[in-house]
């Protein structure tokens, strides 16, 4: 009997075999995941140890005795410079900065993208090119000129000041992603709306915005995480009373005198990154969908 007559005749769905290649791939993925989860693990474990145990130097060990005192301390007692109120005021400041900044920048970005995609005015391509260019300029370059402008109009070191700065720096990338999304919508829709009697704003509100959900979610995620994680702009523009959580976290961690309380530092860091983490977990599905849609259609 020959070998080929022994094999099964192909019929129905193809059987799936676990090949060595597959096993190797899974191992690689697993190792990658562990590698990236390691810092998070260390942070959580360290935040639950007391200082004696931390000093003994076993970074990767799980705590012998659980001690939770680092968390409330980071939240409401740790010293951020001269005041010792923990991160709590920083959280409120961050919310006060992030929410209006996101709303204003995303709305304006959508409007810009809509105008660029559908109302092709003279020089629209040049404008779009400048936007692209703007998205790649490191913003440190513009910090000092912006500071001078803001102090000249009297909003430097205030809440409106920092909101304006975040809106400005969000504009290029938001305009870009909204324009690309709108450019992928059928132009006939816009034509139909014009014949139906819509003007610039009516078409935007009644026809375009209801179709913008996926890209708006992407834009919001982008802005929330970007603004929440910002340190430099918050430090420079927000002023002493409105310092965001990231700036206060830095003040907790960078102690010039006394003992460095690593468990408190770790707890504070986790608290600060809670919001972006939550955003990714809750909206991960949308995030991937939005990015994928942009990739295919953009």
């Amino acid at each position: 009997m020959s070998l080929s007559s022994l094999s099964i005749e192909p019929s129905g769905s193809k059987p799936k075999h676990l090949t060595i290649g597959r096993i190797g791939l899974y191992c690689f993925i697993l190792i990658c995941a562990l590698f990236f989860l390691m810092p998070l693990y260390v942070m959580i474990v360290t935040s639950l140890k007391d200082m004696d145990e931390i000093r003994s130097g076993n970074l990767l060990y799980i705590p012998k005795t659980l001690s939770f005192y680092a968390w409330p301390k980071a939240w409401s007692e740790a010293c951020t410079g001269f005041v010792c109120e923990g991160l709590k005021p920083g959280l409120i400041n961050s919310i006060k900065i992030t929410v209006p900044s996101v709303i204003v920048s995303v709305s304006l970005g959508a409007l810009n993208g809509y105008a660029l995609a559908f109302w092709r005015f003279k020089g629209a391509y040049l404008f779009f090119g400048l936007c692209l260019f703007g998205a790649f300029i490191p913003y440190q370059v513009m910090v000092y000129p912006l500071l001078k402008i803001e102090s000249a109009i009297g909003i430097y070191s205030s809440l409106p000041g920092i909101i304006l700065v975040h809106t400005i720096f969000g504009m290029p990338i938001l305009t870009l992603i909204f324009r690309n999304f709108y450019a992928s919508l059928p132009i006939d829709l816009f034509k139909a709306a014009r014949i139906d009697g819509g003007n610039f704003l009516k078409i935007f509100f009644y026809v375009i915005i209801p179709m913008s959900t996926p890209i708006t979610i992407v834009a919001v995620i982008l802005q929330v995480t970007g603004i929440w994680n910002d340190f430099l702009l918050g430090l420079v523009f927000a002023g002493r009373d409105n310092q965001p959580m990231t700036v206060q976290l830095n003040n907790i961690v960078q102690v010039d005198f006394g003992v460095a309380e690593y468990n408190v530092d770790m707890a504070a860091t986790i608290l600060t990154s809670m919001i972006p983490l939550a955003v990714y977990f809750i909206s991960g599905r949308w995030f991937v969908r939005g990015i994928a849609a942009g990739a295919i259609k953009g």
């Binding site: 059928p186 006939d188 829709l189 034509k191 139909a192 709306a193 014009r194 014949i195 139906d196 009697g197 819509g198 009516k202 009644y206 026809v207 209801p210 179709m211």
Partner: protein, 357 residues
């Protein structure tokens, strides 16, 4: 009869590319005008200029004795139906239909009344609360037509409305559109590249190529007396057969390689000169089975049965041509048949100018 839409000396450029050149077109009140041509001939551009969706470079557009050249699309009393349907995806059918009226702040009672009338006419009453994504292609296009209907448009513009539908639905909606035109009597301008749609729907067809109207006439005239080679070739499926030859003035005949075909029965528009190069065009249905003396014998090389009729392919002096026979005809490959060209219904063109002679 008064004109409903007048296009006067219209030019449209896209950058340096001239799409439409000095184009004139008058469309009568209540007329069904079809703009027909291959893709890139400027027919959709012309429609968009009429709608006001594109800014023209030169010339004027008049609708209902009103110079609308600089007017916004919404102020032109037009309704437009697109190939992609262009229904607002986030709105229900009802909201789609009423969008234009709501933008004009029309009274709610009147809106309801108009929607009711239009949805009855188009048989979409059951679909009013659905979203466009829950509709089939045919239903979507009905809603799109309804949207133009509720606006009481004076002129309906159709931009290849049936091209996205399958063959059966296309025939169905073609019939509906024709009926709609019969019942409403509005002026309609219809862009298509499908000659069957053009032939069946139009009062007059404007055949376009490279931004110029090649022939503007009734479907019958365009089919039977094409003005030039392009129109002759573009209209008709299966296409017209062409033979390149010379005119023999002495015998009033078409000499083609070693053969001679008498042109005695042909109605010349202008007599060509002796030995000038001409093209004889003859439709597959104008070549007849005939066993008389002046017929010629041909060998069947290919058979395409199409149901209602059968197309057979043969060669005349090594130039392939087709003949349309009855669907019931029973020929086999290699059979010899006698054929005669019905010259009375043929078309002759000047080889150089490509114009009908």
């Amino acid at each position: 009869m008064k004109n409903s839409v007048e296009v006067k000396k219209l030019s449209f450029n896209y950058g340096k590319l001239e799409i439409l050149k000095n184009l004139d077109l008058n469309i009568q009140d209540g007329e069904f005008m079809v703009l027909l041509g291959p893709s890139g001939c400027g027919k959709t551009t012309l429609l968009n200029c009429i709608a006001g969706l594109l800014d023209l470079n030169e010339g004027q557009i008049w609708i209902e004795n009103d110079n609308v050249t600089w007017k916004e699309p919404k102020d032109r009393h037009i309704g437009m139906v697109f190939q992609s349907y262009a229904l607002y995806p986030s709105m229900t059918v009802e909201k789609n239909l009423s969008f234009g009226l709501r933008m004009m702040n029309v009274n709610k009672g009147i809106i309801q009344e108009k929607i009711k009338k239009a949805s009855e006419l188009l048989q979409i009453g059951d679909l009013l609360h659905r979203k466009p994504s829950q509709l089939s292609g045919g239903q979507r296009q009905r809603v799109a037509i309804g949207r133009a209907l509720v606006r009481d448009a004076k002129v309906f513009l159709f931009d290849e409305p049936l091209s996205n539908l399958d063959a059966k639905l296309r025939a169905e909606l073609r019939y509906e559109i024709k009926k709609l035109h019969r019942d409403l009597g509005n002026t309609m301008i219809y862009v298509t590249h499908d000659q069957i749609e053009a032939m069946t729907l139009a009062d007059r067809i404007a055949v376009m190529k490279n931004g110029v109207i090649q022939q503007l006439d009734s479907p019958k005239q365009i089919y039977n007396k094409p003005a030039n080679l392009f129109v002759a070739d573009f209209i008709g499926s299966p296409g017209m057969n062409f033979f390149n030859g010379k005119y023999n003035k002495e015998e009033n005949s078409f000499s083609f390689n070693n053969s001679n075909i008498s042109l005695e029965n042909y109605e010349f528009e202008n007599q060509p000169e002796d030995t000038s190069s001409i093209v004889l065009g003859i439709r597959p249905e104008d070549i007849l089975l005939n066993k008389s003396a002046n017929s010629t014998e041909f060998k069947i090389e290919l058979i395409e049965p199409m149901g209602a009729d059968t197309l057979i392919w043969l060669s005349f002096e090594n130039v392939p041509f087709s003949v349309r026979l009855e669907g019931s005809s029973n020929y086999k490959l290699g059979d010899l048949i006698h054929l005669e060209f019905n010259i009375k219904r043929a078309s002759l063109f000047d080889k150089k100018s490509e114009k009908r002679i």
